[in-house]
């Protein structure tokens, strides 16, 4: 601890603290431009100067880099400090008159116009924050100062495109005067590729109400994982909760049953190029619309077009890729209802006119038909017909700048052209692309549409052909939330009712020990190691508990000694005789 006098007040402070920090902690306002608490001070802007008297000598010095010493007397607002600061501000203002932050600082000091004129107006004040951030935090040194005197500027070596730059945007972030702008050239993205509706950070809470509600680090975008540096978040986190060395871990857990709830995927709307998805920015799919509407989304829940304005007309297209022989012939079940929910949201949040293009409205659930009727009364225009095309070829002045939805209105029997500002596609719900692998892993089979097949469509809708494996939710077929919840609860109930006993099918195999010759062929074909050899008796024996009843041993037994309950040779022979009468 050292004691100093700051603006007439005597205080004890920790050794090694800078004057700026002490003053700011006491609530004294000292302007700074080139200072950032996470980066080493550099004394470039000189706005933070104070008057320091130490060992009988008085000097004017930068407070951001000067550490306190015992007996120091510091004045932050003496006449000479103010005069020098005013001069610094005036010079900065002359160099960068259009920088808001500098104008503000100058205005606080009573300067509106600078007496000096600089030939060339600039934004960069050569404070070096960007250079230091790139070096100290990012650790790649992609930019630095080049040239000297009036020519001095920040640039990449030889002013050519840097190949060490990782496009992290730290320089832009730290720049106090907005002199640096990050642009997306050559696909070196600073944005998230899957949340293209707006930029996100490399460390963030995945979404509002995430469980667990803690931030995660995206290793694909975090600077530390690119350059081994930065770790700013770790330094700032007071409870030391951030650990960059954490790795994904695989844990083996012994369980008695499993419920598969692997969900679904969305049909890729790019496969139907006629709808202009990926070509026109205002053609979005259902999930993107949800993201747009979400209170924590990129627009704070406002429904806006790409240019930030509110849409005047919105088209919602049902059955994109579903109920379509060319793609998926089944009905995705959830789209009609969520499409109508979208209509309701648009109606609530904007003044836009809404068009729903449908093949059939399937409002099958409790309260659903009532909701459909409500949408009709809210003025949504329902057009029965499959949309042929979405394009931007205007034929009339009213269509200028709009997206044109072309569709046959099958109720009226005419082809319509409807100009809209935004198109929301409702793509088919499809099985996950790894469903085949997962099915193999758990011994399940797939239905024709690629979803997991339940044991029986009516009598075993949650169990599967594999004992102890249950399925719930959209991995079994397109399903809405209430149905998924019901199936999930059913699956949990199915697991709980398994009890602590094991039931075997009555169809298992047996070996007649009196007739067995001990050839052991059955042992070699059993996939479950359910047959053991009794050396004493010289016979093979089947453990009923392990036998799954496939009958491989029965077919292989040369003596006809192994027999399968329910499927004995004689029984099958009798069947053959019976069917061939």
């Amino acid at each position: 601890m050292v004691s100093i006098v700051l603006d007439g007040k005597k205080i004890d402070v920790e050794e090694g603290t800078t004057i700026l920090k002490v003053a700011r902690d006491m609530g004294i306002d000292i302007p700074t431009l080139c200072y950032h608490e996470m980066i080493k001070p550099y004394n470039a802007c000189r706005l933070c100067i104070v008057e320091v008297t130490s060992n009988g000598r008085t000097t004017i010095t930068a407070s951001c880099s000067t550490e306190v010493e015992d007996g120091m007397v510091v004045k932050t607002d003496s006449l000479s400090v103010i005069n020098v600061r005013k001069m610094v501000a005036e010079l900065l203002l002359a160099r960068a008159p259009s920088v808001e932050k500098i104008r503000e600082i100058a205005a606080k000091l009573g300067i509106e116009e600078s007496r000096f004129v600089e030939e060339k107006e600039q934004r960069c004040i050569l404070c070096g924050l960007c250079v230091r951030a790139c070096e100290e935090i990012v650790g790649v040194n992609a930019i630095s100062f080049v040239n000297r005197g009036p020519e001095r500027e920040v640039s990449t070596p030889f002013k050519v495109e840097s190949d060490v730059c990782i496009g992290c945007g730290a320089c832009e972030y730290f720049c106090p005067t907005e002199a640096i702008k990050i642009e997306d050239i050559k696909g070196r993205k600073v944005l998230h590729d899957y949340l293209y509706l707006g930029p996100t950070k490399a460390i963030r809470v995945p979404f509002l109400q995430a469980i667990p509600n803690v931030p995660v680090i995206d290793v694909n975008y975090c600077i530390h994982f690119k350059t081994d540096n930065c770790k700013l978040c770790e330094k700032l986190c007071e409870s030391d909760a951030i650990n960059h060395d954490m790795k994904d871990e695989y844990e083996e857990v012994d369980v008695g049953a499993a419920i598969l709830t692997t969900g679904y995927e969305l049909f890729d709307s790019l496969k139907i190029p006629e709808y202009g998805y990926g070509k026109y920015p205002n053609v979005i799919n259902g999930l993107q619309f949800e993201h747009l509407c979400h209170a924590s989304g990129p627009t704070g829940g406002k429904i806006l077009l790409e240019n930030g304005s509110e849409p005047q007309q919105v088209a919602i297209i049902h059955c994109v890729g579903s109920r379509d022989k060319n793609y998926k012939s089944y009905c995705s079940r959830v789209c009609c209802m969520y499409a109508m929910k979208f209509a309701h949201l648009v109606h609530e949040k904007t003044n836009a006119h809404i068009y729903e293009f449908y093949i059939d409205i399937r409002s099958f659930g409790k309260g659903y038909e009532e909701f459909y009727n409500r949408m009709l009364s809210e003025g949504v225009t329902f057009i029965r017909g499959k949309v042929a095309e979405v394009n931007d070829g205007a034929l009339t002045p009213e269509e200028e700048g709009k997206l044109i939805v072309r569709c046959e209105d099958t109720l009226v029997g005419i082809v319509r052209r409807i100009p809209v500002d935004m198109v929301v596609l409702c793509p088919a719900v499809i099985s996950r692309n790894d469903s085949e692998e997962v099915a193999k892993l758990f011994g399940l089979t797939l239905s024709a549409d690629g979803f997991f097949r339940e044991q029986h469509p009516k009598l075993g809708p949650i169990s599967t052909d594999s004992d102890g494996i249950f399925i719930a939710g959209a991995c079994q077929g397109p399903k809405d939330i209430p149905d998924s919840v019901a199936q999930g609860a059913g699956a949990a109930g199915g697991v709980l009712s398994l009890g602590d006993y094991y039931s075997v099918e009555p169809i298992y195999s047996v070996i007649d020990d009196k007739l067995c010759a001990g050839c052991k062929i059955c042992i070699s074909v059993c996939p479950y190691d359910a047959i053991t050899f009794n050396e004493e008796e010289n016979v093979s024996e089947i453990q009923e508990m392990l036998c799954k009843g496939c009958g491989a041993c029965v077919a292989a037994c040369p003596g006809g000694v192994a027999r399968q309950n329910g499927f004995q040779d004689e029984q099958i022979f009798a069947e053959i005789e019976g069917v061939l009468i």
């Binding site: 089979t445 797939l446 024709a448 074909v525 009958g551 040779d569």
Partner: protein, 144 residues
């Protein structure tokens, strides 16, 4: 001279594994797909349960063709039952060839639980081909 008897309706016996093919056939039924009634399915737990004697029995009882249906390779509910079927099938094929039984009269097909459509295709195809071949008449020959 080949005499084609158009009224001849072949009798086919199918051994269907319980997990894939039988359910596939079931699906064909619940989807109301039409297909020739010539094949009569017999359910076994796994295609690997099909003993060569079943096949011989079927021919000797008057079948004009025998089809074994199993899960696709790798999908057998009992892991490897259908691999055993493949081996047994090629062995039997040779043997039946020696007896003069044509290729078309003995088939092994993979039909999954989702392939109701495929099941009916196979049955249609087999019925047509065996119709062309004419009756096998093993039962009559054996009885003489």
């Amino acid at each position: 001279m080949i005499i084609v008897n158009n009224d001849f309706e072949p009798k086919l016996v199918g051994f269907l594994c319980r997990w894939c093919s039988y359910q596939g056939a079931d699906l064909a039924g619940t989807s109301r797909i039409e297909y020739p009634p010539n094949l009569i399915p017999i359910r076994v737990m796994c295609s690997g349960r099909v003993d060569p004697s079943f096949v011989m029995k079927a021919y000797s009882e008057g079948a004009d063709g025998v089809l074994i249906f199993g899960c696709h390779p790798g999908d057998c509910h009992y892991k490897e039952g259908n691999y055993k079927t493949i081996r047994r099938y090629s062995m039997m094929k040779k043997l039946l060839g020696e007896f003069g039984i044509e290729d078309e009269r003995f088939r092994l097909e993979w039909v999954s639980a989702a392939e109701g459509e495929k099941f009916t295709e196979v049955v249609k195809d087999a019925t047509e081909k065996i119709k062309k071949l004419g009756p096998l008449n093993w039962k009559e020959v054996l009885e003489v």
